[in-house]
Amino acid sequence: MRSVFKVVENRRESEWTHTIFFDAEIESQPGQFMMVWLPRLGEKPFTLSYPNAVTVKKAGAFTENLAALAPGDEIGLRGPLGQGYPPLKKPALIGGGVGIAELRLLALASEEPSFVLGGRTADEILFYEEFRELGPVHVATEDGALGHKGLVTELLPVEADSYAVCGPERMMAACLPKLPAERTYFAIERYMKCAVGLCGQCTCSGWRVCTDGPIFPAAAVAQMDDFGKRRRSKSGKWETI
């Protein structure tokens, strides 16, 4: 699917984060992603936070433009792409930063989810109220404004039947040894070009994140030497994570 839709709402979630709603509902599996196209500005990967919205953290020129869209503006979408989560039983959803938004549709699709969320400050704990209605929410903030003062990893382990982790890669790498490999899933991010498995750009130890992922079982992630360590930049040159 490749289509251009109209923005219907720009909802400010925090200082850095906006949810952009558009006039179409996309059917996807939680964990799959979309390539968001802004005509003449670029195309980058985002996960749906609602069937009709993406939640965007301003990180550079493209996300600045995306977060500034107003009702009536055009937004192009290609997808859904990649492999999402399998159905999860009573999962603990462990999110950091804007990764929290990427867990929202998974939370809605799961039975008895619980949440372990981290951010620099209270503002960054997206969907906090909404998640509290779905299940227990444990929070860690670096400035201590909400919940535990410190890193989300310090809240682990927690009891659950399965685990889904989405956040900065170093946070995820820190979670890896603390969670049971056979019941845990990670959402890996890499620089994406084609997003359909052709160019090889998004490799994590040889597995193309756009088609083999972005969701990988922890057992596979544990075999990936590059995880938490290095990734290929736009030219293919290695950069340290």
């Binding site: 390539m35 003449r40 498995g197 160019c199 090889g200 040889g206 030219s235």
Partner: protein, 311 residues
Amino acid sequence: MIPLPRIDPPLINASGILSYPEVFTAFESAGACLGGYVTKSVGPREKPGNDNPVVVYPPDGAVLNSLALPTQSAEDWERDLEEIKLKKAKLIVSVYGGDSLEFAEVTGRMSRFSDAIEVNLGCPNKEPGEQTIMESIGQNPALSAEVIERVRGETDKPVIAKLSPNSDYLAVAESCMNAGADALGCGNTLGPGLAVDIRSRAAILAGTTGGISGPALKPVNLRMTYEAYARFRCPIVAYGGIETWEDAVEYILAGASVLGIGTAFMRKSTHEAAALTREIWEGIQEYLDGEPMSAIIGAAHRSAEGGGSHA
């Protein structure tokens, strides 16, 4: 002429698809039936290529890409290739440059890692302001010959001249063969083509136009393979829309001895892609029914000569 290494099974990926050594290793570990792997085209200096979108796939089997040859530096490629640990597949390094000296420089660095060097003479993509290789070199028989000659001087590995279907490719091929190429690559992407988004009224690709790959390209590169085989009877590595064993057999009958798969891997996980390579190879083997593949390479020509006129 230096013979191509034994690529067994005679299936490889196409350059710019999969691209990186660690992806090749993942494919091998997933049981892909590829007897060789080709790197992304290696250039002399780091270059990010075009911005996104770099691909668009209209319905009906055409994919347009405008990657425009992103590359890390040749030094960084050396480091990458030192790491590579393929079990039995051969490694082909694809090279490019802005002129014959750059082609030669990259070849010199890559030769020791590779079982063959593929010279990319045909990419129709460019970053804004650049000239394409196809425009600057690949359409010009004399300049192409100069590239092959210099590349030849830097390697004792077999050299594959990969042609553009958009050029007068028989003339280019002729001068490449005279300059010391050992095999022909038939061929790179077609066009390029354009796709316009009618809602925003913008070209979709950031690079405006992109080379066409996939099934839409097959009839053209099949003809290139057929004509090149008729003229040179040399080993041919064929690329373009190979998705099924039947596609592969068409290319073999036209004259190909190695088959490259690119766009057919689109949207496939590594395990699905590996399964596809197995299906293709099994289909070819069933078709061969015990005959060696060499017995049918170019068979469409023999029958054209043998069988009557267009009555």
